[in-house]
């Protein structure tokens, strides 16, 4: 079998070239948990990034925990987002401006039933371009057999800097064991 282009990722690129979807790094959380996940020294040799994750937090009393992204250590109010969410009975939209992080995936929390993890796929477009603010898009959700959400999110980071590091932090608590985060580059 020969390696191929990414079908899903190819939706953000017009060219189908072999070897254009590459694994850059992966973090799987161990038994001690992790307060955040960091991808650093991200090479600028790709056109887009994709982060694929399945995660659960220790956030107390919660069954839904957001995953927050910060780029290049920027903790300023330089992020915004929009979302469309479905909760199993209705759809709703919301937005946030001047955030200190980008809302991306929705994972599960400490009050979720055992073994239930949320998932997200985040595309970071044109991340190495030095002339554009950065745009991200997310497909995410958790189903908990009677509760949960599915959502689309778009976000922006108002910086023209190339992205060289990404920190992924849960909205509460820490990332639980078996949470997994994988970073890919798309040429």
């Amino acid at each position: 079998m020969s390696p191929i282009l990414g079908i899903y990722a190819s939706q953000i690129s017009g060219h189908l070239v072999t070897n254009n979807y590459a694994s850059i790094a992966t973090v799987t959380v161990g038994s001690g948990g992790a307060s955040s996940i960091t991808f650093s020294s991200i090479p600028s040799t790709y056109t887009h990034l994709q982060i694929r994750a399945m995660a659960r937090s220790t956030e107390s009393g919660s069954t839904n925990t957001n995953a927050f992204f910060q780029f290049n250590g920027d903790t300023g109010s330089n992020y915004s987002e929009h979302q469309l969410a479905g909760d199993g009975s209705s759809a709703s939209g919301s937005a946030g401006t001047s955030q200190v992080w980008a809302y991306t995936g929705l994972t599960t929390g400490n009050s979720s039933s055992a073994n239930m993890y949320g998932a997200f796929i985040v595309d970071v477009l044109d991340y190495a371009n030095g002339n554009k603010n950065k745009t991200i898009k997310t497909l995410s959700g958790n189903d908990q057999n009677g509760s949960g959400y599915v959502l689309f999110r778009s976000g922006a980071w108002y910086s023209t800097s190339a992205i060289s590091s990404i920190v992924i932090t849960p909205g509460g608590g820490s990332w639980q064991q078996y949470s997994s985060f994988a970073l890919y580059g798309v040429k």
């Binding site: 079998m1 020969s2 390696p3 191929i4 282009l5 990414g6 079908i7 899903y8 990722a9 072999t18 070897n19 254009n20 979807y21 590459a22 694994s23 850059i24 790094a25 992966t26 020294s41 991200i42 090479p43 694929r52 994750a53 399945m54 659960r56 469309l84 969410a85 479905g86 909760d87 199993g88 009975s89 209705s90 759809a91 939209g93 073994n115 239930m116 993890y117 949320g118 998932a119 997200f120 796929i121 497909l139 995410s140 959700g141 958790n142 189903d143 908990q144 057999n145 009677g146 949960g148 959400y149 599915v150 959502l151 689309f152 064991q177 078996y178 997994s180 994988a182 890919y184 580059g185």
Partner: protein, 162 residues
């Protein structure tokens, strides 16, 4: 950091004639995620479903949000005997892309993310299979025993993390 090509076709099946099901078996555990791309039709308009590892117990659930050009809404199905892959019409052209996240880990239940589109709807969907087993077999069939129509194509890809 490692940098290796990693989006690999595992198998493709195109139906030469209508069939009750399509099976992907002996799925290797060497990938991190699976992606199933379907361009398919069904003998009577309805859902196309997937059963993992022959589990037909009521261990599947899914939540959807969809828009029809006028409004957006959401629904949920609990304790189902199969995973939803989307709604398909009696002609080819409806598409579905399902991501099986961490399908080979044996510590967590399995979560899927699906996008599917018809001429009437665009949809996002999250699914749960309440089982910690690695997924080794996927059987795809039409709801209510409807046949998958000739020309339907199903391709399974593997994504391997560093």
């Amino acid at each position: 950091m490692a940098s290796a090509a990693t989006y690999t076709p595992i198998a493709t099946q195109t139906l030469g004639s209508s069939a009750s099901s399509v099976t992907f078996s002996s799925i290797p555990s060497t990938y991190t995620d699976l992606v199933l791309v379907a361009n398919a039709g069904i003998s009577t308009t309805g859902a196309i479903l997937a059963v993992f590892n022959s589990d037909t117990g009521t261990n599947y659930s899914y939540t959807r949000v969809y828009g029809n050009g006028t409004a957006a809404t959401s629904d949920r199905f609990t304790n189902q005997p199969a995973m939803d892959l989307g709604y398909f019409s009696t002609s080819l052209g409806n598409i579905s892309i399902t991501h099986f996240m961490n399908y080979s880990n044996t510590s967590t239940y399995k979560t899927t993310l699906t996008r599917w589109n018809t001429t009437s709807y665009t949809t996002a969907e999250v699914g749960l299979w309440r089982n910690t087993s690695a997924i080794t077999t996927i059987v795809i069939n039409g709801s209510f025993g409807y046949n998958l129509i000739a020309g339907s194509t199903f391709t399974l890809y593997g994504i391997a993390a560093a």
